[in-house]
Structures are given as C-alpha cells and as structure tokens.
Amino acid sequence: MTDIKNLIPQRSPIMMVDELLEAHDDIARTSLNIRDDNFFLESDGAIAEPGVIEHIAQSASAFAGYNAMQAGATEPPVGYIGEVKRFRLNRRPVKGETLVTTITMGPTVNGVTIITGETVSGEETIATTQMKIYVAGE
C-alpha cells in the first residue's frame, strides 16, 4: 500500500515486515518473506521463535503507522511491546516462506493498545498471540 519504511521505525537488520497488504477499521494484513539475511535465521534454515513475535509486533506497528499517517503524521510512531500473552507457535517458519499476518486492534487506553495476531503460511496457521503495545509519547 505504501513504502513500509514510512510505517515502521525499525530498520535493517531487524525489519520483520515487507508490506502492509490492507488496513480497514480494526483489521490489517501484512506479509514477510523469510530471506537469507533474516536476523533470526538459525543454522538449520528456520527462524527462531522470537522472530515470529517480532514480525507480529511490527505488523501491529505498521498498522499503527498507517493510521498515524492517515491522521497527518510524517514519522512512524515508535512502539514498544509491553506484554506477550497466549503465544502459541505450531512450527518455526523456514527460509523462502512468505508469512501473512492478520492483526486485530483493540481499543487504546493511556497509550496502551491490545492487539491479537494470527500468522499463516498458505493455509497453515504458524502462530497466534495477544500483545500489549505501548506507543512512546502518548
């Protein structure tokens, strides 16, 4: 939809979203292709579990960045993970796979937003989680 660097503050080597595919109301979808230079890639060709968590967090960040841009912001907001809850991982994604993640954003109270994320590869669910995200300066 727009250059991902306008939507998230993270930069190489820890950019874990390629694209915001769609965003409307409280739902957004993102994608990430696991490439050779992924920061979380392990020697067996799969990424470490926290890499999936970071991908989901940055997906929420891209959604927040998109909403901020719609509201007139020029810089993507910096958000921090406050809590990871009920994270389940079915398997680690491998090099070459493309992950698609759906973020559902809950209400924001005192700068804290509760989100849920589901990551799939094709038809297969890779991970699900809840998260609390804090946005700096709010």
């Binding site: 920061f39 967090a57 921090y80 406050g82």
Partner: protein, 121 residues
Amino acid sequence: MLLENKYYKVLRARKDSEEKAVYHIAILPDCSVYEGHFPGNPVCPGVCNIQTIKECTSLLVGKELRILSIKQCLLTAIATPMVCPEVDVEVEVSESGGKYSIIAIISDEKRQYMTFKGEGV
C-alpha cells in the same frame, strides 16, 4: 546459539540445582541489531531478551530448546545497553514428559526488565 556472544555474553553462571540457575550477562552494545532498533536510539528488542531467556534455559538443561508457547511475558521496563549493560537472567524449569515449563526474570539491582512464563521442548 543465535545471540550468544553477539547480543549478549555470559560473564558468570550460578547453578543452584538442575532446575534453577542465574546467568549474569553483559548486553553487548556493538550488536548490529541496534543499527535498526532504532537508528540513533539503541533499545534492546524485547524479543531478543526472550531469545536470551531461551538460550540461558538451554544452557541450564543442556540442550537447545524451542519455545512452544508463552503464557505471559511482561516487559516491565525499557532495557538499553546503556541503562543496563549487565543483567541477571534467572531461570527455573520443571520437566514433564519431555516438555519444560520455564519461569524466568531479567533484572539488575535497579529494576526488573522482563518476567516470562512459557513452555519449551
């Protein structure tokens, strides 16, 4: 392991039992992750601290663990290589049928940065 001697370095370990240990680690300020998290504003990625807990737990149990689930992980303060150049990673595990329940805390003398409850295999 992915982040050992890259993101952190174990300075000393105190093993209280087969199921409990404290790893005193240095957070390495020159890790490449800070080039992107965030440019000009180095902040420890919470997920790197989760990976560090996983790797310290792997050291305790003597095999490389995988995280299956996280019941709850609270990030209670922002960690940076300047704010907390050295921290304690306190790990406690209990094993049942090949699965490990993991409880961990990252802290220094000033504050707690992370509490973690999850399962690994």
